[in-house]
Amino acid sequence: MAVEQELKKWFAANWQKVALSLLSISVFIAGWHLFSEYLRATSPSLYEYIPPPAQVLDALIRSFTVLDPTSNLYMTDHIWASLKRIVLGFLLAVGLALPIGLLMGSLKGAEAAGKPIVEMFRPIPPLAWIPIFLVIFGIVWGPVAIVFLGIFFPVLLNVIFGVKTVDPVLVDAARTLGAKRGHIFTKVVLPFTVPYFMTGVKVGLGVGWMCIVAAEMLGGVGGGVGFYIFSKATTSQYDLMFAGMIVIGLLSTLTTGLAGVFEDRLYRWMGMR
C-alpha cells in the first residue's frame, strides 16, 4: 500500500520526464524503422546491415531463448561472462586507483613522480593494448586487463582532483580544533573525496562497458556479450549483432544506475543530501 502510494507520488512529480523519455525513444525507433525501410526499397545490399527494429527485437528474444550454435551458449551466459570481467576489472581498478590517487593528491612528490607516467599512458586507447595483453596476461586475464585500464584512469584522475580541491577552510578549521596531518587525512580529506571518487566510478563503469567488445575480441573464454557481437558481425548476422549491442547498452545503464543508487544512499548516510 505504502509502496503503491510512493510510486503514485513519484509518477505525479515525474510524469513529464517519463513521457519525454518515452517520446524520444519512440522517435528514435520510428526513425530507425523508416531508415531501414528506405534502404530495403533503394539498396537491398545495405538493408542487410540495418535490419528494422522489429527484426532486432525478435533477434534479441531469440538470443535468450535459442542456443547460439557458434558458442553453444545462451545470452544469459554471455551476460554473466561479461559481468564477471567487468566486476573483476572494476575491483582491481578501484583497488589500485583509490590508494594511488589519494597518495598522488596528497603528496607533491608522489604527484611529480606519478604524473608523467599517468599522462603518457592515459591517452593510449585500451584497444591498442590487445596484442600485448594477450601475450602477457593470456586469454583469460587479458580481457580483464583491458577493462581494468578503461576504469582505472577515470577513477584515478577524479580521486586526485578530489584530494586537491579539498576546501582549505575546512583544513584550517580542523587544525584549530587540534587535528594533525593524519587526522586531516582521515577526517577531512577522505570524506571530502567521496563524491569525486563516485564520479570516477560512474564514468569508469561506462568506459569499462565500452572496452568490453575490444576486450573480448581477444577471445571469449566462456562467452561474453562483446565476443557475441564480434562473432555475429563476422558471420553477417547483423540482427543478432544489434541485439548484443542493445544488451551492452542496457547493462551499462543498469550498472551506472546501481552506482547512482549506491551514491545516493551514501550521501544520505553522510548527511550530504
Binding site: D167, V169, L170, D172, A173, A174, R175, T176, L177, G178, A179, K180, H183, K187, V188, P191, V194, M270, G271, M272, R273
Partner: protein, 263 residues
C-alpha cells in the same frame, strides 16, 4: 599573564621576488575576558593578525603569547570561528561539535555530554542530528561557535563571523554572541569591517591603519549593555570610529591608485 599579548608583530608575504609588507610593528594586549574588535580597511591585515594568533599562519617577526605561552601553531587554548562557517558537511551538528574532542580521544559518553551542553548553550537544542545542509546560515554559525568552544579554549578568535548573514540574522547573532560571552567568560578577538557591529559588541575597538597594518587607535567603549544603537552615545562613538576609519580608507585608496593596482 592571562589573555593575549602581541608585541612587535610583522608579517611579510613573499611571492617570487616581490614582497608585500602586510603587518608592521603591531602591538596589542587583550586582558582575559575582554571583547576586542579589530576594525580596518580591507587588506589592512586584520584577518592575518587573527590567523597568526590562531597559529594558522607564520609570523615574520614579533612575539605572541596567549596566557603567557608563546604561540607555535594551532592549539586547543584558542578556538576559531570562520566567516565561511567551515562546518564539515558530512557531520551532523553534534558530530561537528565533537570533532576536537574525538581528536583528543575523549570517550563517546563524555563527548555526547559536552556537545549536548554546548548545542543547548548556542540555542540549537533539538537540532543535534541535523546536518549543515539542513541549517540556515545563522544556525550554521551557532554550530561553529559551539564547535570552537568544545575544546574549552580561553580565547575565541572570530573572523568576520557574521559577514555572510543577512542584516536581521546578524543583529540576532550579535545579541546571542554577547549572551554566550557573558556565560562563558571567554577572551574574544573579533574581526569585522562593520563599525556598527564593533560598537555594539566590543569593550574596545582597535582601528588598524591601511597596509602595512598597525594599530592606529585604541577606542574603549564603556556603554552599558545591552546597547541601544539609536542612543546619542552610541552614535557619537560610531562617529568617532568612522572618522578614524575613513582617513585610512582614503590612504588605502591613494596607495592603490599610486601603484596603479586596484586588486
Amino acid at each position: 599573564m592571562r589573555g593575549i599579548s602581541i608585541e612587535g608583530l610583522s608579517k611579510v608575504f613573499r611571492k617570487g621576488k616581490s614582497e608585500l609588507v602586510a603587518i608592521e610593528g603591531f602591538n596589542l594586549t587583550v586582558p582575559e575576558g575582554e571583547f576586542v574588535c579589530l576594525l580596518g580597511p580591507s587588506g589592512c591585515g586584520k584577518t592575518t593578525v587573527l590567523r597568526i594568533v590562531a597559529g594558522l599562519e607564520d609570523k615574520t617577526d614579533g612575539t605572541i603569547q596567549v596566557n603567557g605561552r608563546k604561540v607555535k601553531g594551532p592549539g586547543p587554548d584558542r578556538g576559531m570561528v570562520f566567516q565561511e562557517f567551515a562546518l564539515f558537511p558530512w557531520r551532523s551538528a553534534r558530530r561537528n561539535v565533537e570533532f576536537g574532542l574525538e581528536i583528543k580521544g575523549v570517550p563517546a559518553e563524555r563527548r555526547h555530554a559536552v556537545s549536548s551542553k554546548l548545542l543547548e548553550l548556542v540555542g540549537l537544542k533539538g537540532f543535534e542530528d541535523s546536518h549543515p545542509k539542513q541549517l540556515s546560515g545563522g544556525m550554521k554559525q551557532r554550530v561553529a561557535i559551539a564547535r570552537a568552544l568544545a575544546n574549552a579554549p580561553s580565547v575565541l578568535l572570530m573572523d568576520e563571523p557574521f559577514g555572510a548573514l543577512d542584516a536581521q540574522t546578524r543583529n540576532l547573532m550579535q545579541k546571542e554572541l554577547l549572551r554566550i560571552w557573558t556565560e562563558t567568560k571567554k577572551t574574544i578577538v573579533f574581526v569585522t569591517h562593520s563599525v556598527d557591529e564593533a560598537v555594539y559588541l566590543a569593550d574596545r575597538i582597535v582601528v588598524m591603519t591601511a597596509r602595512p597594518g598597525t594599530v592606529k587607535k585604541d577606542i574603549p567603549v564603556t556603554l552599558p549593555r545591552p546597547r541601544d544603537r539609536t542612543s546619542r552615545e552610541f552614535i557619537a562613538i560610531r562617529g568617532e570610529v568612522l572618522a578614524e576609519l575613513e582617513a585610512e580608507f582614503e590612504k588605502a585608496r591613494a596607495t592603490e591608485l599610486e601603484k596603479g593596482s586596484v586588486k
